[in-house]
Symmetry: C2
Subunit: 231 residues, 2 copies
Amino acid sequence: MIDSPPTPPSPIAVAVDIVVFTVADEDLKVLLIKRGVAPYKDAWALPGGFVREDESVDDAARRELAEETAVEDIYLEQLYTFGEVDRDPRDRVVTVAYFALIDAQSVQILGGTDASQAAWHSMYAAPELAFDHNTILELALRRLRYKLEYAPVAFQLLPEEFTLSQLQATYEVILSQPLDKRNFRRKILNLGILRDTGRTRSDGPHRPARLYAFRQERFEQATGGKVIFSF
Amino acid sequence: MIDSPPTPPSPIAVAVDIVVFTVADEDLKVLLIKRGVAPYKDAWALPGGFVREDESVDDAARRELAEETAVEDIYLEQLYTFGEVDRDPRDRVVTVAYFALIDAQSVQILGGTDASQAAWHSMYAAPELAFDHNTILELALRRLRYKLEYAPVAFQLLPEEFTLSQLQATYEVILSQPLDKRNFRRKILNLGILRDTGRTRSDGPHRPARLYAFRQERFEQATGGKVIFSF
DNA sequence: TCAAAAGTGTTTCCCCTACACCCATGG
DNA sequence: CCATGGGTGTAGGGGAAACACTTTTGA
């Protein structure tokens, strides 16, 4: 209220942590890293690291993500900032959490990497994590489920072209509940954000499925710039 | 991927900025502070300040808010974290933005304070602000409008007991659009989150209005712990 | 010809919307 | 008695949910 002398910038480190989701094997997976250093040495943790002085927080998240996955064009969104005093037992670290969605196919690279300590874990059977990362993970899941209902995020988890059954399976895995096939298809198609590629894919001893692609532009004009950023 | 040496915590300052909304005079108001120090000396800015080493980020926001308003029990929610490199022309400052909702009555205190530099401004005619605060403000408005539709935030802007007309006016000011009286009343009452106090209030040469109060518990059980935190 | 997934319509119900008049009071 | 805001009901349309069978293919 009254002008106080400017508080000296505090010695607080700023980090980013990223919840990377993918869907594979009919399961929702999250990318975890085994820590090689204290604190929480040998514990699983979310990928992340400190923000450098010459990069924005968003850029730090993108950089860390690229270091772990070597994939471009990743859907990345800020989740929440965690700033409890004792969330890191040693230093004072405030972390900005992000969540990312990637197509399992395009990152197969990582699963088969060298002796690195990164691995996909089932979201629904995640281990105890370092720091407050379990809290972050839970929030990410809530946010993902929430967004699924009104934003076209499921497409980020699928390859360019996909079948409606794949899409439905993605929804079902994330929401942990079965959906009605006819209602699902009608709803999605009525949104007008899918393009029928005209192609089909044969999968086994049954009728081939039509392949669809996501029409980004269509969605953006439909929302009228309503969402996109945050939420 | 490969264990890199832990990056040394970077010299980045962490701040909080708070968008304090209230509704008064049939307008949506935001609390602004005239800066007494460089950078942006004499410019209007959001209330805020640096996070101290011994307090959580949330606590810093509550503290700054208390310093400006001297009101307790304020609705406060984290909004977004802004981390562009050059958002502060001098130092590297990452800011965690919050938004707060308070009842205009209970903070009249501030409006009539000493020669302090704090003042309510119309949200819809806000001046150029310091730093990236106009961006923060816009995001806060979007979030407020968004939340209004599915969360009981309007009650935070009203006194304990209020009339349905007051409530409707609050919605209208925030959404910048008129609402149908009958539909509004039916919808709100059907939510079952209001308690009819049995009292009425006379306001002028017309029928007195029923006074209602918000039933917090009812809402919490209705949402089944769905929202509350973030979103 | 069989197994397995793809694809397809209809009915019901509820919620949202649009819309206009009487009521209670103070001056 | 009049001006002012408080308070009320109904009909129609649109989207969500429930529900089962036919089609196409590979083996």
